[in-house]
Subunit: 124 residues, 10 copies
């Protein structure tokens, strides 16, 4: 895999993630999005998967509508699985500043092989 | 999300949670309520979900009939997911004074996105 | 819930739990009884559920036939969920003197609400 | 069950079901609504269930948004299971004039008993 | 199996099945009761199973509360599987006079053998 | 497969199937036995499977206890799948004289291959 | 729903469906595509679903690679559920000229409502 | 797809299917083989699937061991799905001469698309 | 349970468990045997269950064929559940000398009661 | 098992595993391959199973296409279960140099016995 693809989709501009003030402390939110789709940067074929975000909010929670627009914007972007999950984590942490967060991407099989990527914040 | 909605449903009066004296020490009770429904404060559309309460009773247990009336009273109240779960936890702790308690709300998908909220007492 | 019901079924005489000498040390036995039924002391309506007993035997194991008679004897006794599980644990510990034991009662939904009670020996 | 309840909810005004012109002939549409809720006319307690509508359109199809408003309007109406399913069938047939239609209501257990009601148009 | 058991439970008096007038024609009602229990006339051991009643009402429908009392009354009656299902069918047909009816009893395994009994009205 | 095995287990004496008089007409009985085991006549290795018998009784029903002894007696008999199912059907029909009967044998995989045999009475 | 949307996506040019000569007669092919996605013509929001095509080939079979390109081309087209399924059927029949064909679209829930559309060739 | 591939794998020699005399008349045998694998003639990539054979034997039954060798021999043969299922049917009918037979091939997804092929004897 | 049964099956000679040299260090092997059957020493009725062995090999691994013969030899031995699991563990440890090992026996329900026995080496 | 088989398949040359630079730190990748097949070195019969690789990448990730070629190359190699899993782990660690890695092989039942092998890097 040459350099051309390695960064594909990482710098592309995406809709802003909005937040709203949390009314409580010390609880956990899990969001499951089974309708994720993007494009393979090499083959231009569509990829499909389920994205799960689990986090402990600090001052703000993610607004679901802006998250939906953000996730939907990957639809026509060429980007690899590893980069999808890690970019979502970074964008999420930047906007929500959670106490902790996990992003999991479970992707549909390609050529009989199924991939699951999981990334945590704070990085260990 | 403006201020108008942020507190929606948090101050609304709800039926009292009643208790009865526990006859034993050091055990755990889990109550699963798959028929929770409330209203989205913004769109006025109904929300549906399953509420799970797990707790270690101290001196008293929750009376199921009063819990049923309490949960049923959310039916026509406009309130967000995060506030539902955290308010149930606070009301439950106030009435039962348990040694520990967890409330989980698993809500039906909206726009292809499913949310799960989980809150614990005592707060960490 | 007044006093009349709080102790219902706790003092009722039940068939003796018999035991037999364990031939080995340091292992765990789990017994699942999906055919538990008793009566609600207030409404006189039947309750149904699954009782699970998990224990580490010391000198003796529970004899399954006597356990079956003991559990079957709840059939026409009026007793609450919390008391069922805790009484089974106490009766079991008295007869088997296990190193440790757990009793779990998972009861069928009533009014859309499902209850699970779990008690451990030794009490923490 | 006296007369007072027998007709409960049958004459109550509900939001109009809207339609749009079908572009094709001879196909079948199935709509599954797992978030139905109404109220028992006798006990005033909420009922929950899944409504399924399957039909062969003639000139028009049901508009999903108006169906959602129509179904949502049962939320605070006191009405029995049999009447729910048969009224939905009659209202649906009146607005859509389908070649054939089936309505099925699968209701959550009450007192350990689960009910399913199924009605067809044209009546045999 | 001698004569003593063959008729066991067939002549025992049971609570009356009540009905209410059906408001519609030509539809089907299915009632599932997973909490059936009775007693084996020979061994006196409890039996457990699920009873399903499916019928096309004519003038009246079965009242669920009276059905619940009727089914609950088998709790301490000694009666065989085949007789349970056929007696329920006969009692149901006598009280409801349905256009057609089916009763199915699915009983829990005994000695590794599971039994299902199904009877129809009108008899072929 | 030579002649030696073709009839294996077909002439072996088995415990008698007993019956009791049916109290009703025109109903169907299904018996599921997931604990069938026999021996492969060629390899002497054990076979395992589930036997299902479904029949419409005429004058008599099969007594479950005698069926259990009959099925259990295959435990150490060398016999092929096809012969197991057809012999059970013939023995069953001889003793019960049912209006109709079906026997199904679903056997555990051997060498990655799973077999299901199904035979009906009356033969078409 | 006004006219603007009623025909949306029906006249849009799509990649050609290619075929190859069938080597046999009288058999059935089922193709399941769980990764269908298109756009709602009104809300511009993505829709997701599973498309199933079942057909009896006459002289030719569909080439899977061209079907994949054809289905993938719906990705950014605004079109309603009913039109998706019926257009796929028409395009399929035009290119494959099968003896018979069925297309089923099972779409993910929107607003708690799930839709399934099924169309057959030849039209009855 | 050019001619080169259309016949791939149809003329390749395979191990003989052996049979043994059936001891009974009028019954049905189903054989499920979830470990089928072959090679795509175009891409040379392996294909995987489950083959199911269901038949009514006439004079002979298929010997499972020879079937296993026959099916295993597809392992390194380049052949399309449609040809796999139809060739198995033809080879099976030639050796067993059954009264009727069905072969079903359910193949693992490739590029998100799952294929099922079903062929019957006698051809309609 | 008198002494006669307590040791039943513990001293009976069984086929030897063979081993082969492990080529690697520090890994775990799990073996699942869903076709276990033995005989109840008291009732002489067959018992059925699934045996699972999980271990970390030291110098040798268990040879599957000898394990199959060893397990198959319980077929006609009268022995209680607790003794089955503990004897398998002891015999396994004697022949394989693993770093650690667990044996679990999950037995089919008898009289509506299901038993699971689990033993570990080294004993705590 | 003699020496001839003990090393079978361990020294056989396999296609190279390729990698690409990871763009992020501290995350986990899981790859599931349900289409693994190899050959038993003793019986020459095919084995089937699912291989799962879970790892924390350091500088590079495994390229899925090369992994697919590598796994596919076991197709005609004679090798035991334990050696399959441990060799994949060693080859994977050599090419990817991950921070940690686990390989799990879940193999289809043979003679009613199912095997699961699990190996970790770094070895404890």
């Amino acid at each position: 895999m040459n350099k051309k693809y390695a960064h594909a989709g990482l710098d592309q501009k995406l809709p802003a993630l909005k937040t709203f003030p949390s009314q409580f402390k010390d609880y956990e939110i899990t969001i499951v999005i089974p309708e994720f789709t993007s494009v393979c940067p090499k083959t231009k074929q569509p990829d499909f998967g389920t994205i799960t975000i689990r986090y402990t909010p600090d001052k703000v929670c993610i607004e679901l509508k802006s998250l939906k627009m953000y996730i939907g914007a990957y639809r026509n972007i060429g980007i690899f699985y590893e980069n999808i999950v890690n970019r979502i984590l970074e964008d999420f942490v930047t906007s929500c500043k959670p106490i902790q967060a996990t992003v999991i991407g479970e992707f549909n099989p390609r050529g009989g092989i199924r991939s699951i990527i999981e990334a945590h914040y704070p990085r260990k």
